[in-house]
């Protein structure tokens, strides 16, 4: 009976489905996504009511909104990347292992046995999916509210070229991917911090603090040598995706940087978690 059962081939993705269901079944997750969707709505309503700022003031793309509602997406992303997205990543990544430890479910997952490496991989994958969903929500909510309140038409890119609505969708998706990619490093840092404690709120706070610290280091001229290594260094680099032709160099640099952070903090998380005594 059970001896036969253990001979069956492994189902490596069964847990990922369960993990995503766990994340997206929580009211907390939907509350965070709803809060992120409010950001473009707030921006669009504010611009509509006040008639828009004089050109050149406020966050990037703000002035373009009155001409084309689709720019609400881009403005909202600019506003969200330094603070709101790191906050939500902090919650999801910080909770990943520490939350299970706090509930006591970690010992039952490990006794199932889930495999410690596999659990970490699935947790990181769910962080990536959440990041993608969060970025997507901002861009989609932005496009929807923009289209509702402002005229929509061909989008004029930073390079002066004009693209149609179809190509706008492609660029919007690229921005979602860029935003997801940009926060992978922070996600790995959060996952590592989450293996250190059984108090999820502590891991969440520490991850958000890490996001703030990286941006401060990145802003201090005295620490210029460190700037290229901060995971936040390319957070605002997506302007290059709004040129014709697309300049991919920023995307590549960012991917390499994030990969580095994921490798280093992923390895730290593996080293810590695979040897840890689970006493919670």
């Amino acid at each position: 009976m059970s001896a036969v059962e253990t001979q069956r081939p492994a189902r490596p993705f069964a847990l990922l489905g369960s993990e995503l269901a766990l994340v997206f079944r929580r009211r907390r997750t939907w509350a965070m996504l709803a809060a992120l969707a409010l950001i473009p709505i707030l921006i669009a309503v504010a611009v509509r009511v006040t008639g828009g700022p004089p050109s050149g003031r406020g966050p990037a793309f703000l002035a373009s909104i009155t001409e084309n509602g689709l720019f609400v997406s881009f403005t909202a992303l600019v506003v969200s990347i330094p603070l709101f997205l790191p906050l939500t990543v902090g919650v999801v990544a910080g909770d990943s292992i520490a939350g299970e430890a706090n509930l006591g479910t970690l010992r039952y997952l490990l006794a199932a046995p889930v495999g410690r490496l596999r659990l970490l991989a699935v947790k990181f994958a769910s962080i990536v999916v959440f990041l993608f969903a969060a970025s997507l929500v901002i861009v989609v909510a932005g496009a929807a509210i923009g289209a509702a309140l402002f005229p929509v038409g061909p989008v004029t890119l930073l390079s002066g070229d004009t693209i149609g609505t179809g190509e706008y969708l492609g660029r919007a998706l690229l921005l979602v991917l860029y935003s997801t990619l940009s926060l992978l490093g922070l996600g790995a840092v959060g996952l590592f911090i989450s293996t250190l404690t059984t108090v999820p709120i502590g891991a969440m706070a520490a991850t958000v603090v890490a996001a703030g610290a990286a941006q401060i280091v990145d802003a201090l001229p005295q620490l210029e040598a460190l700037h290229p290594f901060m995971f936040s260094h390319h957070w605002f680099g997506f302007g290059d995706l709004l040129r014709q032709p697309i300049d991919w160099s920023g995307f590549q640099d960012n991917a390499l940087l994030q990969l580095g952070w994921v490798v280093v903090f992923g390895a730290l998380a593996v080293g810590r978690f695979t040897t840890k005594d689970v006493l919670s």
Partner: protein, 310 residues
């Protein structure tokens, strides 16, 4: 295939200076219901954590169902159901969904039979009526039942249950005992830790007693009972005649004024003494034996003190 469900050799776990588990040699035969006894803080849960690969031993070896732990963890643990240090569930999920989630954790468990297996386990612990309720709203006893259900979602060769009757009402406690008996009758080895000795005594075939991180005794219940000093006490108006019978049987009589005490040795049974007393015409007001229960042995081996070891 070995005939041992659990075997440890020289198992040690140290936390800083303290040896929480010290040179443990557990020996649990297959098919046994093994009671793992000991006062709070004697190292029971730490031992269970090491058996399940949650904590790594500081020294020593563990074999579960004949396989080395933690080296063969992926092959062994699917055959082992566990309840460790209280149940745990996702408070925002229903009881049923919590079980689905925990079952999905093992890549070898079959998703096609999952619904059926989960529902069967819920039924077995009497939780089917509350299966759709958020587990965060469960009472302590319901959570405990859910934890037991999680251990039963797949057919198991070995169950490791840490304080399974914690928080249960008397009916629930009885059901758990019956459940353990039924599982044992199906050939499952059950390793159950408890400090409620009377419960253990009712269902166990074997027991091990921990004290201060060391295993001070283990064996079948009969073997363990032999270890203790058994005393017999009689109340009688014919004290001198009774003392003569005691002396003849080698009981070293001690006259306590209103009663007479003696120590039972060499397999001498209470009923033999009673027959001899009655045979000699000694009139009895009362006759009792002590040292027969595990509790007496437990106290003799682990001490009377109430304070937890530091």
């Amino acid at each position: 295939m070995t005939d041992r469900a659990i075997e440890t050799v020289g198992l040690v776990k140290t936390f800083g200076q303290q040896r929480a588990v010290d040179d443990l040699a557990l020996d649990v035969p297959r098919g046994a219901v093994f009671g793992f006894l000991g006062p709070n803080g004697s190292g029971k849960t730490t031992t269970i954590r090491m058996l399940l690969g949650l904590a790594s031993p500081s020294a020593g070896e563990i074999r579960l169902l004949g396989e080395t732990m933690p080296g063969r963890i992926g092959a062994v643990l699917p055959r082992v159901g566990a309840l460790v240090e209280g149940p745990a569930a996702y408070p925002f999920l229903s009881g049923r969904n919590s079980l689905h989630r925990l079952d999905a954790a093992d890549p070898r468990s079959d998703p096609k039979t999952r619904r059926q297996r989960v529902d069967r386990a819920l039924e077995r612990v009497g939780l089917q009526a509350a299966a759709k309720k958020r587990s965060g709203a469960y009472s302590l006893g319901m959570k405990q039942r859910l934890g037991l259900a999680a251990a039963l979602v797949r057919p198991r060769d070995l169950l490791i249950l840490d304080e399974p009757t914690n928080g249960l009402d008397p009916q629930g406690t009885r059901e758990v005992r019956n459940l353990i008996r039924a599982l044992a009758a199906d050939g499952t080895t059950v390793f159950v830790s408890s400090h409620l000795l009377s419960e253990i005594e009712q269902v166990c075939t074997h027991a091990g007693i921990m004290s201060a991180g060391r295993l001070v005794a283990q064996g079948t219940l009969d073997q363990l009972r032999q270890l203790g000093t058994r005393r017999i006490t009689v109340q009688t108006p014919d004290a001198s005649e009774a003392a003569a019978v005691f002396a003849r049987l080698g009981l070293d009589p001690v006259d306590r004024g209103d009663h007479l005490e003696g120590e039972l040795r060499d397999g001498l049974q209470v009923e033999d003494v009673a027959a001899a007393l009655v045979g000699d015409g000694v009139r009895l007001r009362g006759l009792s034996a002590s040292g027969q229960t595990l509790e007496d042995l437990f106290v003799a081996l682990t001490g009377e003190g109430f304070d937890v070891r530091g």
